[in-house]
Amino acid sequence: MPGDVLWLVIALPAAGSLLCLALPSARAILAATAAGVPAIATASGAVVWQVFAQGPLMTTGRWLHLDALSAYHLAVMMLIFALSSVFARVYFGAEPVPLSRRRARRFGALWYGALAAMALVVLSNNLGIMWVGVEATTLLTAFLICLHVSPVSLEATWKYLIVCSVGVAFAFMGTLLMGSAAAACSLGGTQFLNWTYVHDIAPRLDPKVVKLAFIFLLVGYGTKAGLAPLHSWLPDAHSQAPAPVSALFSGFLLNTALYCIMRFIPIVEMATGNAGWSRGLLVFFGLFSILLAAAFILAQHDLKRLLAYHSVEHLGIIAVGLGLGPLGSFAALFHTLNHSVCKALGFFSAGRVGQIYGTHDMRRITGALKAHALWGAGLFGSILALIGLAPFAIFLSEFLIVKAAAETRAYGTLVIFLAGAGVVFIGALRHAIDMAWGTPAAAPAPRRTSVLEGALVVAPLALLLVLGLWMPRPFQDMLSSAARILGGAAQ
């Protein structure tokens, strides 16, 4: 089958992982990730293109499956991975202590491994394998957090491990329950954990079991996705990991888990008579996440924790969008891309600015624009975009979510959403302005910036700006076809 090419999307990173173990020096490993991941991303882009041009792909044995929804997520994931890989080289190159070979090997192997695991999650047609992939991402990324061993990074890793393992274990219970519901309707065989199959028979599933399953899935994957109040690991892990890893966590690790929830939404909705039960839950968790994140953003002093709470907020926004009908789904998917790109840039900048100032305490980071014009601008720009200023794309996706709320007559949601976003805006802006424009504590020597660094700042901002002012028709079609799957369409 032509779909067998999908195996490559997993196999190539796995091979990359092994390659990194074999490379002789830290430089070589970083170069291999910075060059290899974009190459893999480009190749995957071709596959994604294939899906949108000619329809979904499926491997023999129905193990892997790439439809519009997964293709869209794969594209976002590859974009974030590619950017972060390039940035990793810049970041580790600027560290005061260069990466030892052992650490570099660990980094390279785990980095590629995480890529493979996330690709597995996105591509998997089998709900069980999908769970295996999610758990694998947890385990593979755990050591990335404490790449630089320190008491707090170990603490963060431990919390990440325990909270996510326990949480994701519940997702497994949910998967089992879903499987049992499907098995009860099936004529035997091992198809009953395949998404395509479960999706086909969804209207016949026992609604009570499906609801029970979804509760477990929501709590389980929601823990990994950082929905409040299950988000507790998130600020710790994001703040302690090296910047490229934080960018990856916030940029796609969370979305991987949310993607899993997305997969179950149409099934649950079809099984429960399209009453909007699962969507209501998502809206609730989304709004709660926004409000809780707002509370912490107001009083935050650590830059990376600030960005982490922004992730809680934005994942909440995506969840709210998912709960608000077809337009909401469309907006949520759009927001996924916007948030990932913007947050990646945010963490890149936070990492580099943090290196320059030697701290992530926002009270001590003042005048970043003077200290380092490029990364200061990246930091300021990304925060302004994150809090939803037009003409950046996040404004547009938030506008669409508000519109979706109005169309579905969810006026309470609309009000809470706007209020929460407003509080976040107020809290984050206060920090952003002083960080960008304050008087620099000391005048750091001007550093030369490479073209690569310039591109890492300009490209995400330009993408956000362009998408905020102009959504090309093919891109809209892409989002629509992905959103249709969330609405219950077969492909």
């Binding site: 295996v132 755990a142 008491p151 049992s180």
Partner: protein
Amino acid sequence: MHGMTDGIMAALLVLNLALLGTSRLAFCITLVAAQGVLTGLLPLVSSSGVTLRTLFLAAAVIALKGVVFPRLLSNAIRGADVRREVEPYVGWGLSLLLGLGLLGISFWLGAKLPLPAAAPEAALVVPGAICTILIGLLVIVSRKKAVTQVAGYLVLENGIAAFGLAVVPDVPLLIELGILLDVFVAVFVMAIMIYRISQEFDHIDADRLSALKG
């Protein structure tokens, strides 16, 4: 085979309660290992019976949970040089009482939750599994040593495995193996973490890992 399943489940529950009542870490690990072995035996006595597939699975589970994990965890506590769980958030007596309460809740939940119609021989499996899961959570929440938390996680995992056996009898082998691999890696990673933590902090008290907040 009906009786066998019930017997294994009963043993699991007893082990759960024993786990709640013990403070010695080494004994904890032994209890969890025993529980792992019992869960490994469950597929053999379930409806699908002894087949090549179940035998293979049982062997893998018993090898991992009965042998590999205890070794990993024992090494970890030896490295950290701790023997006892002292001053848990919930005392031993209260833990046991809570355990009994959870047991009751499990039976109530087992009857109440809209679970798919379980096979008659698995009547005790579902509540037993739920109870194991809850007790695993209780251990994680109430105990302070990192290693006990891992033990709790394993108990939780055992419970879920039993639960899975009850609700979905024949999960494809590949998936089962994937899950096992994940659990193995999880425990492996956690053990390494415990080692690192003991190196860095000179203790493995999870409750003292609370510098990050707000």
